[in-house]
Symmetry: C2
Subunit: 137 residues, 2 copies
DNA sequence: TTAAAACCGACTATTATTGTCGGTTTTAGT
DNA sequence: ACTAAAACCGACAATAATAGTCGGTTTTAA
């Protein structure tokens, strides 16, 4: 089966943690401990998410991170997109620096539309679930 | 976006080629040329597919490969599964040597069920399309 | 003033992917 | 019987992606 990178899994776990604790700002140390994610790696991941605008930070002592929107407004697809980077399920599908190895077939290719269809279905699934859905139940 | 390996893309293209030419046995050379896939790499890929039983081979001069079943009986999901190997969209989901890094959370984890759900939706999409669907239209 | 935090860039290690090579075996055609 | 074309096989190599680490700087509350 296709694999989701552990980076993305870590990222989602961190986001879920923030959603569960949306009252306060959570430090990396706290998240790292609770979710058992290597501190330094988590930092890189969270920093990336922050740049995307999904979360915000407060610096200095007692600083930390918190969601920029309410959990019900954050689709899991957004998180995956930020962390997985790269456009396109396959390289032939247009690319925003996921490295498009320019395909010699393209026109005659019978598989391109297929992958596109799979990609759409995947995106639809991811975008139909929010952080709020995850922490409910 | 999550990426499908080029191995799997090559493999699907090869299968589509066999489906289009289901009358005859096709040599690797032929497929390799038509689909612009590196010969030696294609060999490895096709050999893997053959072991799975989706295609059969005929050795010796004038040998080649052909589909083991009719195109309408071959789900794209089967091809992807064979080539992508590994069970589970994420490592926490049970694994048939996709390397399960045993997860310390598991019980409390809110994301596992989510990934499982995505995986199911993906598999459903892949299994709803056959080689016959791809070569039609 | 200090300690805890975010922030940053460079670096390393490991693993996965993609591809190559040199052969052996099988088989149809001559 | 010989030859050429094919499948078959295992080991290797190059590259790229992932996962993780390190040594710092800056900001801020207490
Ligand atoms: S493989 Fe590139 S368009 Fe189909
Ligand atoms: S991260 Fe392993 S079960 Fe959720």
């Amino acid at each position: 089966m296709i694999r989701i990178s552990t980076k993305t899994q870590y990222g989602l776990r961190a986001m879920v943690y923030l959603a569960k604790n949306k009252k306060k700002t959570c430090s990396l140390k706290e998240i790292s401990k609770a979710e058992k994610i290597p501190f330094d790696y988590l930092e890189k991941i969270v920093s990336r998410i922050e740049k995307s605008g999904l979360i915000e930070s407060k610096r200095g002592s007692h600083g930390g991170y918190f969601l920029a929107r309410s959990p019900s407004k954050v689709k899991t697809g957004e998180i995956v997109r930020v962390l997985e980077g790269r456009e396109g399920l396959v390289s032939c599908i247009a690319d925003k620096n996921g490295r498009k190895r320019n395909c010699p077939l393209s026109k005659k290719c019978l598989t391109k539309k297929f992958w596109l269809r799979i990609q759409n279905s995947l995106e639809k699934a991811l975008n139909s679930i929010t952080l709020a859905n995850l922490i409910a139940k």
